[in-house]
């Protein structure tokens, strides 16, 4: 059992990151700047929700309390969500949404790539499926960051503002606490130092092409992994969980 608790937390973290980002990206559905872009973003939202589903399903099995992925998504209170703070940040304008996705994708792709070699076969299989999707996500979000950065004076300003505002949430992505340490030792999870190196390479490459300035590492906001979230999280959950809270067990 000692092994199970870190694994459960790790699976919830992977699931919650994707679930909350999917909820945020889904908010754009019907409001995208262009019909084609609206569909493209909704596709990516559904991709990450699919990945969330796989991780939360496995989490429910590991927990062994008969909770399904739906129970975990719609019936947990805020303090039990262990997603990083980056994904719960509001959408803002399209530059803000794309920069948030870019930061996430640049971290998420090398992480899931590394997880394909996990000693846990179920995780390796989930990651194997996710890598193709995320490769495309990173390409799409990078392209927009480059377009905005190397675009007009206004688009550049908006992209740089988003980057400056969101940078404080990137530190949390690479924190390794006792949960990570236990799983790294068991060969289940990768050492985040390698993930950080690839994240840095992607930042340097894309931001240079976008003519955007990489913010200096200063104060980094953390707490999401322990269930302590920013003020945006409660509103997000209120919307996401409304139906199951108001009509428990509703199905359609």
């Amino acid at each position: 059992m000692a092994q199970q608790l870190p694994l459960l937390t790790y699976l919830l973290r992977r699931g919650d990151d994707n679930l909350i980002l999917g909820q945020r990206l889904g908010e754009w559905c019907g409001h995208g700047p262009q019909l084609e872009e609206d569909i493209a973003l909704a596709n990516r939202a559904l991709d990450v929700i699919g990945q969330a589903r796989n991780y939360l399903q496995y989490a429910g099995e590991v927990e062994g309390k008969q909770r399904t992925e739906d129970d975990l998504a719609f019936l947990r209170p805020e303090r039990e969500f262990v997603n990083c703070k980056l994904v719960e940040q509001h959408n803002g304008d399209y530059a803000h949404t794309m920069v948030r996705s870019f930061l996430y994708d640049a971290w998420h792709l090398p992480l899931q790539k590394a997880l394909t070699k996990s000693s846990d076969e179920r995780i390796a299989a989930i990651a194997g499926k996710a890598v193709k999707e995320i490769s495309y996500h990173l390409r799409a979000s990078s392209d927009w960051v480059i377009r905005f950065g190397d675009g007009t004076a206004e688009s550049k300003e908006r992209a740089q503002n988003a980057l400056n505002a969101l940078w404080t949430y990137t530190g949390e992505l690479f924190v390794q606490d006792e949960v990570d340490q236990a799983l790294i030792k068991a060969g289940v999870a990768p050492d985040m130092a390698k993930i950080k190196a690839e994240f840095d390479r992607t930042m340097d490459r894309v931001l240079a092409e976008a003519t955007l300035e990489r913010p200096a590492d200063a104060y980094m906001a953390t707490g999401g992994r322990q269930g302590v979230h920013s003020e945006h999280m409660g509103l997000l959950l209120a919307e996401m969980q409304y139906l199951q809270r108001a009509y428990p067990g509703a199905e359609w």
């Binding site: 262009q34 019909l35 569909i39 493209a40 596709n43 799409a140 392209d143």
Partner: protein
Amino acid sequence: MSENPNNWPLWEVFIQSKRGLDHKHVGSLHAPDARLAIENARDVYTRRQEGNSIWVVPANAISASQPDDAEMFFDPADDKTYRHPTFYSIPEGAKYI
């Protein structure tokens, strides 16, 4: 929908469903450049495994015949059945003819 607020140009999209088959016209979309046109085509037109390869062509690069010319263009072929190679037999197993 008629006016495109960002003035993105229109692209015609062609999808090849399987290697060896021709690219078929599936529709059109707006995009600022070819790269994004291909990415948008991927998201709009290949969501249900329709595609293996994508072509996009700026709509304004296509010259089309005029509907008014249809009679003189196409009707004269109506009674020229000798142009149809109906006397050839098609080998068995040839699927795509």
